[in-house]
Structures are given as structure tokens and as C-alpha cells.
């Protein structure tokens, strides 16, 4: 039987099947954070059981932590309690925690890859929908609810029906100024926010083959925004080079054996998918969203479509935008560069390269929030921090921050924010905030100009 990448990894983790029902899938790594784990720990305690495999669980505090003065006691009482609960639960259950103050702390989907915890061929879960990020390594990685967090705690397994398979192939050469974020925003705009429901996606074709690991993570991260459980990219030389030498990567004795196995994972020629889509790279241009879900995106030089339906109109009313309108020159007061989609070192290098020697516009508040302590350290060491600060950007400490506005980093109501995060839902970045999703390049240039500029044809140095 010809198998896809997804089949190979899935089938290798099936412990048992319930006749006429779901399968029991073994989970190699379980990532947890402060917001979706307390009720799961409570569930275990109510049943008087302990964690089945604490050594396969890694915790961090990210969703609800302040991004200033992380060395001080957290001011907000509820947030403090959540973080303290995490610390206590991890201690009681022998779980490794990279909490505030630890050199490895950061957004869960940024730290696991950079520490080499994420490896090809694994199954990984986390109580967070953007767990799909780790699929960039050829990993089956997906978000779960808190009941499932408790199931993994109790058994290191989950009961699941095998999802369907979709392949999205993008071949050709990308246009100037098109970044991985634009590629995924384009795909979601083309296919819609529920096109992936019930599916696991494989991204294939030369566009992804030629992409860096960080770019692949940006793409896989947003798979959930088209409703897919996860997205994957076949592991290759780029993957192996990225993993090699990382803190928790296989050591030198195991390395060759692992790579030999990883090389068997890519989809067999002739394997079939339930759904297939093909796109031509030359059709993709820098993208931006105008509505209240990530599928409401356009090429930055296009106009907002003239659609007549109630949900569409509701979204435009919320956004304060009009049908047929162009977004170029739209005045913007807030820019957020961060989140598990775009807060890795490449994102900041790119943003800094366009900011260097310039000043942010007077009306702009620009937040730079690194994905992890390690990224923060690198920003400093590479001199990017000086560039951002000289340009008037505010650099914060690692966390989810304005991506979901759970901590103090909320954007004021009614304001437009060009954000490198992944969700433009109503109120996502704070009540009444109007979020426009874009790449770090578009975000950086918006901050400099104080308005949206057409980056499509810009000659950038």
C-alpha cells in the first residue's frame, strides 16, 4: 500500500482500535501551558491518579504572562494564580517547567522546535490550536481540548478517528516580497476557513521545499485557520540540519539511525489523498486581511470584494471598512510583531532590515514581542534590539501578548492593528480592536509609514 507522510506517522502510533470506533493513538510529546491545563490536573486529582508519563510532558508559561518586568510578582491576581497553579502542578507531577525566569521560557510553539523537542515522525499535542506549527518537521501535531489534556495525562494516549488527508501543492517561483505568511494567507483566502475540517494537510511542492524551517512553521501554524486539524511538510535536509545539535535532539550515536528513519517518511509516489489542491506560486502576492476571520484576505493591492451576505457585512461593519475599498493608505496606529506565527529570529531579522536607519511614524505604537527568551537573547546579540529601539519600537519580553490579549497587552478599542499573528477575530486583540493580519515585512513598513503601503512592487534593499 502506498502511504502518505501522514499515514506513516499515524499508523506507527496506533496502539489499538475500537471496533467500529476510534483508534488509540500514542502521543510522543505533550506540551502544556498555564491556561488549558489546571482543569486537567484537577481531573486527575479528583480521580486520584498521577501522570502516566511525566517525562514526555513539557510545560511553559506563555498565554497569560506579562511582557514587562517578568522578574516581578505578576500584578493581575487571576493570572498570578494560573501561573502559580502551573508551577505547583508541575512540581507535584514531576513535569519539566520552563516558567518565567527560565532561559528557555517562551511561546510553547516557539520553544519546542528551538530546543529540539519537536522531531520528525513524532505525534505531539498541546491544549492550543496552533500546535499544528510543529507539523513543519513532518510531525503529527494538533491542538486538543482540556478533557483530552487530561486523557493524555492519564494514559499518554488519545482516542481519535483518523482524519482525512488533503494535499496542497504550490509549485513555481514566489514573487518579490512574498513571505511564507503571505503564502498561507493566500491559501486560506482561496480555500476558506472550513475547507480543511476533518483533514490533516500536507503542504507539498517546491515553494515549501525551498522554504526555511521557520517559514515552514509559519505555514503549518495557520493550518487550523482553514479548519484543518494540522498541517505537515515532509522532513528533508533542511529539517535535519535545523534539528541537529539542538538541546534535546537525538545525540550523535542515535543520529544516523533517526535520520535513516526520517528519510522513509515522505509520501510515497502514487499515494492518494481525499482532497487535493494545486496553486501556482506566481499568483501569490503580499496579502492582508480586511475582515474578522483569516479567510477574509486579499492581495494587498486588491480591493475588498463586493459580497452580499449578512455575515460578510457584519464583519465589515465591525472593521469599519467598505466593500470595494482599497486598503492602501489606510491609516493605522498599532503594529504588533509577535505570536507563534511570526516571532522567530528570521522574522525579526527581516523586520529590522527594513527598519534600520528609519523612524516609526508619529501615530504608531509598535510592539515587538519575541517568541522566546532564546529569540530575545539573539535579538540583542545580533544588534536588532538597537535598531528597533532607535526606530521607536517597543521591545517586550516573550509571551503570547497581544496575539490574544489575555494579559495587559491589549490594543485600544476601535483601533486598527496590523499584526503578524494568526487571528483577526472580533475582540481577539482586545475588545473592539480591528486586526489586519499580514507578514512581518508589511507590518514593519506599516509602522514606518503610519499607514498601509503596497509592498508588492517596492524595491527593498
Amino acid at each position: 500500500m502506498k502511504k502518505t507522510l501522514f499515514d506513516k506517522v499515524w499508523d506507527a502510533h496506533v496502539v489499538d482500535s475500537v471496533p467500529d470506533g476510534p483508534q488509540i493513538l500514542y502521543i510522543d510529546k505533550h506540551l502544556i501551558h498555564e491556561v488549558t491545563s489546571p482543569q486537567a490536573f484537577a481531573e486527575l486529582e479528583q480521580r486520584g491518579i498521577t501522570l502516566a508519563r511525566p517525562e514526555k510532558t513539557v510545560a511553559t508559561a506563555d498565554h497569560n504572562v506579562p511582557t514587562v518586568n517578568q522578574h516581578l510578582t505578576i500584578k493581575d491576581a487571576l493570572s498570578r494564580k494560573q501561573v502559580e497553579m502551573l508551577t505547583k502542578n508541575c512540581k507535584n507531577h514531576n513535569v519539566t517547567l520552563y516558567g518565567l525566569g527560565h532561559e528557555y521560557q517562551g511561546i510553547v510553539h516557539v520553544i519546542a522546535p528551538e530546543l529540539g523537542i519537536t522531531q520528525p515522525g513524532m505525534t505531539m499535542v498541546c491544549g492550543d490550536s496552533h500546535t499544528s506549527t510543529h507539523g513543519a518537521f513532518g510531525t503529527i501535531a494538533f491542538g486538543i481540548g482540556t478533557s483530552q489534556v487530561a486523557q493524555v495525562f492519564a494514559s499518554q494516549c488519545l482516542l481519535l478517528n483518523k482524519p482525512k488527508k488533503m494535499r496542497i501543492t504550490v509549485n513555481g517561483k514566489l514573487n518579490k516580497n512574498v513571505l511564507p505568511k503571505d503564502v498561507i494567507l493566500y491559501i486560506i483566502a482561496q480555500l476558506g476557513t472550513n475547507s480543511g475540517t476533518g483533514h490533516f494537510v500536507e503542504y507539498a511542492g517546491d515553494v515549501f521545499e525551498n522554504m526555511s524551517m521557520e517559514g515552514r512553521m509559519t505555514v503549518c501554524n495557520m493550518s487550523i485557520e482553514m479548519g484543518a486539524r494540522g498541517g505537515m511538510i515532509a522532513p528533508d535536509k533542511t529539517t535535519f540540519e535545523y534539528v541537529k545539535g539542538k538541546e534535546f535532539a537525538p545525540n550523535s550515536q542515535e543520529w544516523d539511525k533517526k535520520v535513516t528513519y526520517w528519510k522513509t517518511l515522505p509520501t510515497d509516489d502514487g499515494a492518494t489523498f481525499d482532497t487535493e489542491y494545486n496553486f501556482d506560486a506566481s499568483d501569490i502576492l503580499p496579502m492582508i486581511t480586511y475582515g474578522t476571520n483569516p479567510g477574509m484576505g486579499i492581495k494587498i493591492n486588491e480591493s475588498i470584494p463586493e459580497t452580499n451576505d449578512a455575515s460578510f457585512e457584519k464583519a465589515l461593519t465591525y472593521m469599519g471598512l467598505k466593500k470595494g475599498q482599497s486598503l492602501i493608505n489606510q491609516s493605522i496606529n498599532y503594529v504588533f510583531i509577535g505570536s507563534c506565527t511570526n516571532s522567530r529570529i528570521e522574522d525579526f531579522r527581516l523586520a529590522a532590515s527594513h527598519i534600520e536607519g528609519k523612524q516609526k511614524a508619529g501615530n504608531i505604537t509598535a510592539l515587538i514581542v519575541p517568541g522566546s527568551q532564546q529569540v530575545a537573547k539573539q535579538i540583542k546579540e545580533e544588534g536588532l534590539q538597537d535598531i528597533f529601539e532607535a526606530a521607536g519600537f517597543e521591545i517586550r519580553q516573550p509571551g503570547c501578548s497581544a496575539c490574544l490579549g489575555m494579559n495587559e497587552d491589549k490594543i485600544p478599542a476601535g483601533e486598527y492593528c496590523v499584526s503578524t499573528s494568526n487571528r483577526n477575530f472580533e475582540g481577539r486583540q482586545g475588545q473592539g480592536v480591528r486586526t489586519l493580519l499580514a507578514s512581518p515585512l508589511t507590518a514593519a513598513l506599516t509602522a514606518i509609514e503610519g499607514k498601509i503601503v503596497d509592498v508588492t512592487e517596492l524595491e527593498l534593499v
Binding site: 478533557s147 482516542l159 472550513n194 490574544l404
Partner: protein, 195 residues
């Protein structure tokens, strides 16, 4: 988990598509460390103004609409995996959600909390949404054993799909943890072979 077999109830219609879990329960209410009380903030920003007063025109604020069933537009529960969304709906008093499409994670979360997601065709959904809006007293019947959703007045009698394992869990009030713990030996055998 409570057992679920049959339900007859009036329903609330929410004709909005792509209701994401950030709307069902905004992130700022996720700071609790227990599962209780989320119903208070269900659809918070649609239900209340920022000063805490009720927003006029939102269906849950209109007294004539109530019931244990929520009928909502396509692609309900998309976005964040927060199970708090299922807890909020359940805590508010809903037992069944009807839509023409559910986001995967939400569907799983709902089932794990005894909340039944029922998927029907978009044509039937539109019919139902319109009817309920004008006839708030109409009662929907849900029969889980026979997998049927009906509303006699409009001749609606639809069968719906549900995974047979999940159906058994709901009817008996079982949850997955009990089942997985009972599989300890197979799990250990798998580990011995694969690690």
C-alpha cells in the same frame, strides 16, 4: 458526565456564520482554574456593553427566546481550542448545538462535556433558523438513540451522524479517560515495542 438520550426543548437561533470560540468566551475570561461559572460570560461581547449593561437586539437578551438548544450558522466553534467554550455553553444551560458545520476541536470538546453537536444540511438549517426566529415557542425533539432531530410543525425530521463510540459514551455517561485507563496493558506493550 450526565447521561443523554432524548430532549424536547425550545431553541435559540443565532444566524451567524463562523462563530469562533473567541466570541463564545473571550480570552480575558479564561483566567479561571476551575470549570464552573463560564456561562455568565458566554458570548460576552455580543451580550453586554462594556459598562456591563445588556446589548439590545442580541438574541440571548430577548426574553421570548430560551431553551436548551442553540441553532447557529455554519462552521460553529472555529478558532481557538479552548474547551472553555464548551463549558460556557453547557454552564449556560445548552445541551444541544445545531449547525450545518462544526469545527473539529470544538466538536470533540462538546462531546467530551455531554454537549451534543448536531450537523444538518445548510438548507434545513436556514429553514430552522428562520422558523425559530418567528416561532420562539416551537419545540425541537432530539432523539440520540435513533439519531433524529425533528420539528413537527415544519415537517422537519432529519437523521444526524454521530460516531458510534461517542454515542455510546453519551448515552451511558462514560468518558474517554475511563476507557483509556482500562487499556493500560496494550499501551505498555506498545511502548515496549516502539521506544
Amino acid at each position: 458526565m450526565e447521561k443523554f438520550k432524548k430532549l424536547t426543548s425550545t431553541a435559540v437561533s443565532l444566524p451567524v456564520e463562523n462563530v469562533d470560540t473567541d466570541q463564545i468566551i473571550p480570552a480575558r475570561f479564561l483566567k479561571a482554574t476551575s470549570k464552573i461559572g463560564f456561562g455568565e460570560n458566554l458570548f460576552r461581547d455580543w451580550r453586554y456593553n462594556s459598562d456591563g449593561s445588556k446589548k439590545e437586539g442580541f438574541i440571548l437578551n430577548e426574553e421570548k427566546y430560551s431553551g436548551k438548544i442553540l441553532v447557529a450558522g455554519e462552521n460553529f466553534g472555529c478558532g481557538s481550542s479552548r474547551e472553555h467554550a464548551a463549558w460556557a455553553l453547557e454552564d449556560y444551560g445548552f445541551k444541544v448545538i445545531v449547525s450545518s458545520y462544526f469545527a473539529d476541536i470544538f466538536k470533540g470538546n462538546a462531546l467530551n462535556n455531554g454537549l451534543l453537536p448536531i450537523q444538518i444540511s445548510s438548507t434545513k438549517l436556514t429553514q430552522l433558523l428562520t422558523h425559530l426566529k418567528e416561532n420562539p415557542k416551537s419545540e425541537l425533539q432530539v432523539d440520540l438513540e435513533n439519531q433524529r432531530l425533528s420539528l413537527n410543525e415544519i415537517g422537519l425530521d432529519e437523521s444526524f451522524e454521530i460516531d458510534s463510540y461517542k454515542k455510546m459514551c453519551l448515552i451511558n455517561g462514560y468518558d474517554d479517560i475511563d476507557f483509556l485507563i482500562s487499556k493500560k496493558e496494550s499501551i505498555e506493550a506498545f511502548e515496549a515495542q516502539n521506544q
